[in-house]
Symmetry: C2
């Protein structure tokens, strides 16, 4: 049976290391930011534990005893290794940012802007994961998440990015094909992309247009805004989309938004991360960047 004898107090070892390196209690105290008295105390503690003096107290200088000489190099080396590992880990911790997002946001918003973040933070590697559900940050190795919801996740900090507003959009040529879209009811003369989407019903209701049997209308059901947006851009029909996801298409005229009427879903897209990590450099870097992008694009 082999009983491992307990290590002496590590603070004492650390102090010993500094003293051995400097050959002086006072200088070690300065380096460690503590009093010479504290150093003296710690050395005494360690000497008690080891069972032998570690230093010879000579006038104006100290010298390592044989025991001390045997201990010092290994201790110094161990601390160097520890320090190096810590720095590396810390660096690694700051070097990779793992984002868990939902596909819609990734493809319609993040993808085309992420480049500017990477340019701003060249030392940060970004790993983008799209997952249907909000990850549990304590179980998965994820730094930040982007999710839709109400922003009320316990233990998580949440910043509202964009509202899940929706309104019909179509290509200018498709609008022209019926002589322009002047009022909401005009849309019913065009093919609706995914007419079963509950957003259509909501929007027509808000527009005061009776629109029964929408879900029975022929049309494609694609389920992801990116696809519907592409289809609309190609002039294949009218899609009901979140404008913030198609700012570029609206700006350059590939899509038009015929009506100002926006509906929304009571929920929004949020940036979320564990409250406790709010000060992590990479997290605040990303937060700062994305919130800046949001205000810039809504201007």
């Amino acid at each position: 049976m082999h009983k491992t004898l307990p290590l002496p107090p590590l603070t004492a070892i650390r102090v010993f290391e500094a003293v051995a390196r400097h050959g002086s209690f006072t200088k070690a105290a300065t380096e460690l930011g503590m009093t010479q008295a504290a150093v003296s105390y710690q050395i005494k503690v360690l000497e008690d534990r080891v069972g032998a003096p570690l230093f010879l107290r000579r006038p104006r200088q100290i010298a390592l005893t044989e025991v001390g000489q045997r201990l010092a190099p290994a201790v110094t080396q161990a601390f160097e290794q520890l320090s190096e590992a810590y720095v590396t880990a810390r660096g690694g911790a700051q070097g990779t940012l793992v984002i868990s997002t939902i596909a819609t946001f990734a493809s319609n918003w993040l993808a085309r802007r992420l480049g500017s973040f990477q340019i701003a933070h060249p030392s940060l590697a970004v790993r983008l994961q799209t997952e249907p559900h909000l990850v549990d940050f304590s179980r998965e190795e994820v730094d930040i998440g982007i999710r839709s919801g109400r922003g009320d996740w316990p233990g998580l900090a949440a910043h509202r990015l964009i509202n899940a507003d929706f309104t019909p959009m179509l290509s200018p040529s498709l609008a022209a094909s019926i002589g322009g879209v002047k009022e909401p009811a005009d849309l019913l003369r065009l093919p609706l992309l995914d007419p079963g989407d509950p957003w259509w019903a909501k929007w027509f209701a808000a527009a005061n247009v009776p629109a029964e049997g929408l879900s029975s209308r022929p049309g494609a059901s694609m389920g992801a805004q990116a696809y519907e947006g592409n289809a609309a851009t190609a002039g294949q029909g009218v899609a009901i989309l979140t404008p913030a996801f198609f700012a570029a298409e609206l700006a350059d005229g590939r899509l038009v938004q015929p009506f100002d009427l926006l509906c929304n879903d009571e929920h929004a897209y949020w940036l979320v991360y564990p409250e406790t990590r709010r000060n992590s450099p990479k997290i605040s870097a990303f937060r700062q960047w994305i919130l800046g992008e949001i205000t810039a694009s809504s201007r």
Copy 2:
């Protein structure tokens, strides 16, 4: 300019090491002899310092994050090194016993008994240094000292070994050469070894023998009991010696002590060592042995 970033609390690192090794907070707590709550706290502290989670909290088990994986091996290695160095140092500290003694005691008492100590403690290497003055234990690498004096050294523990008694001794044949030594004055008919030794004057005074001009008597002055003892054994004269140093010669008849009258010097031979080290294994081993030898030889 390169600022060394401070290491995180070492207790936290130690806890982390144990947790990483066991893959369990609870088991690590058991190994470290503390509560699971304390382990949890320390890990959190370290995670705060590192700036990233070190473990993924999965049900019924934990797993290292990437950062943790990078940190753990180096930390374990560093602690192994530390532990090994500590054990070695501790072993070395206990493996060598440095005795600083005065020549007289070494040659007349210690030398012929030390063997039994080494047999009793085969793992202890003994280094015997003879020095005229009491060393300063805080400046010289010495574990124990044997010195004559009054036993009142501040900061030092002192055990009386033998009194510095003295009485005349001579070889049986020399005594027979004058028909036997019957009374103190008979000694004056024989050559005295080192007649200038103040011990002679003291002893004759105590014996009520007028003995003027002792120091002017012809004789050898050797100054060390060992030499005088040898000379006396060889029948070259009468020496005034400390009986405890010649127990063997008295026992086997090489020397005789004609009178019971002992004088002494007010001082004795002492075993001394720093009070603070009284519990050091090698010191108590030696103390126990030498005090046992003393009582055995005075029995």
